[in-house]
Amino acid sequence: MSPGHYLALSAILFTIGAVGVLVRRNAIVVFMCVELMLNATNLAFVTFARQHGNLDGQIIAFFVMVVAAAEVVVGLAIIMTIFRTRRSSSVDDANLLKY
């Protein structure tokens, strides 16, 4: 399997994640789609690490995972806080900053 195949899969998964972020309205599902996009980029990083024959790409993928974990913790805490006050996890309902 050439790197091109892995990169194509990575592009497809990234696009699906982006569509999910655009289309879905449950904040948790939107968040899961962001995770899917991060995973797709990780696949690209690992593929490029193999392409270049050094481990730097894997290190970057590792850092992406760490940042994603931190992001999930804070993001889900925010979603919980919004849900507690508004009894809803839809991104359409949280429009208080609009006006």
Partner: protein, 312 residues
């Protein structure tokens, strides 16, 4: 046309450390992960999306392992599938499992434009990928063997070249943990209920305030559907599981214990308890009806009286 040719060349590039059976693994996992990702954005229930995301993540972990990144494959399984996704499921359970998205579009044409944008974006990425001169893959064999293995090589990089980024990551993690604690914390607006408040509320509600009679009180049998006998000998339905009590009558259970009928069995028990508590054995024990109400009113009072007699 030329772009297609170049894309074909990019896909046909040789890989130095091709794994045996990599083609089959790649195509199987690529199909599974793409279908799962598509299902993830089309499922209405958030829980189904989360489970399909787990499928995608596990497929990617296998692809990492195939591509010479065993450490990342395990981190993917442990951190992503194990921790992050479980956190997602936890929050989903808190928010409510049955929460579904409404299918009404709030922005007109949002889905259509999202689909058009996706196709355009994918075409852009594909064109970029096709035009890139990827060339032959170097393979990770040499890099992995430089320090004696993938994990050792990653450690050498992480604590050497990238040590500052690694330290910054620790600060990020601590900040995230503190932030989550601050965000999840809720100030109490009303004082916490004391034991006294709880007790007052229990008596005000008008229900039986004390604990229910235990099945061991003057118990003559250890079957769960046999009621405890109160000090005056009457059986208390309250000591039986309400499901069992609602399904049958006490007197119609355990016909096989003593005597001809279940009433004989109950009468025998009642007589035995009376004998222990010092009350005179009255032959009309079977006239006593089974006490299904609260023992607080009649049962406890008469029980106290019989105990008093026993004391004298």
């Amino acid at each position: 046309m030329t772009a297609q040719v170049i894309a074909g060349q990019a896909l046909a590039a040789r890989v130095a450390d091709a794994q045996p059976g990599e083609g089959f693994i790649f195509w199987a996992l690529a199909i599974v992960s793409t279908l799962a990702a598509l299902g993830m954005i089309f499922m209405r229930r958030a829980v189904h999306s989360a489970l399909l995301l787990a499928v995608v993540m596990l497929s990617l972990a296998a692809l990492y392992a195939v591509q010479g990144a065993p450490f990342l494959a395990f981190v993917q399984v442990i951190v992503y599938t194990g921790a992050v996704l479980m956190l997602f499921l936890f929050v989903l359970m808190l928010v409510g499992v049955s929460s579904t998205d409404s299918l009404v579009e709030t922005i007109r044409g949002q889905r259509l434009w999202a689909a058009i944008g996706a196709v355009g974006f994918l075409a852009l990425l594909g064109a970029g990928l096709g035009n890139a001169a990827l060339g032959d893959s170097a393979g990770l064999k040499k890099a992995n063997e430089e320090y004696g293995g993938n994990v050792e090589g990653l450690a050498a990089l992480l604590f050497g070249k990238y040590v500052f980024a690694f330290e910054a990551t620790s600060a990020l993690l601590i900040t995230a943990a503190l932030g989550a604690m601050v965000l999840a914390h809720r100030e109490r607006t009303t004082p916490k209920d004391t034991q006294r408040d709880l007790s007052v509320r229990r008596f005000k509600s008008g229900e039986h305030p004390g604990p229910l009679p235990g099945p061991g009180t003057y118990a003559r049998h250890n079957a769960v559907d046999m009621p405890a006998l109160l000090p005056d000998g009457t059986p208390s339905e309250l000591s039986v599981n309400p499901v069992i009590a609602a399904r049958t009558d006490t007197a119609s259970r355990h016909a096989d214990l003593y005597g001809e009928s279940e009433r004989d069995a109950l009468a025998e028990d009642v007589a035995a308890v009376r004998a222990i508590t010092g009350e005179v054995h009255d032959a009309d024990a079977e006239q006593r009806s089974v006490k299904a109400g609260t023992p607080a009113s009649g049962g406890a009072a008469s029980g106290g009286a019989s105990e008093g007699e026993a004391g004298q």
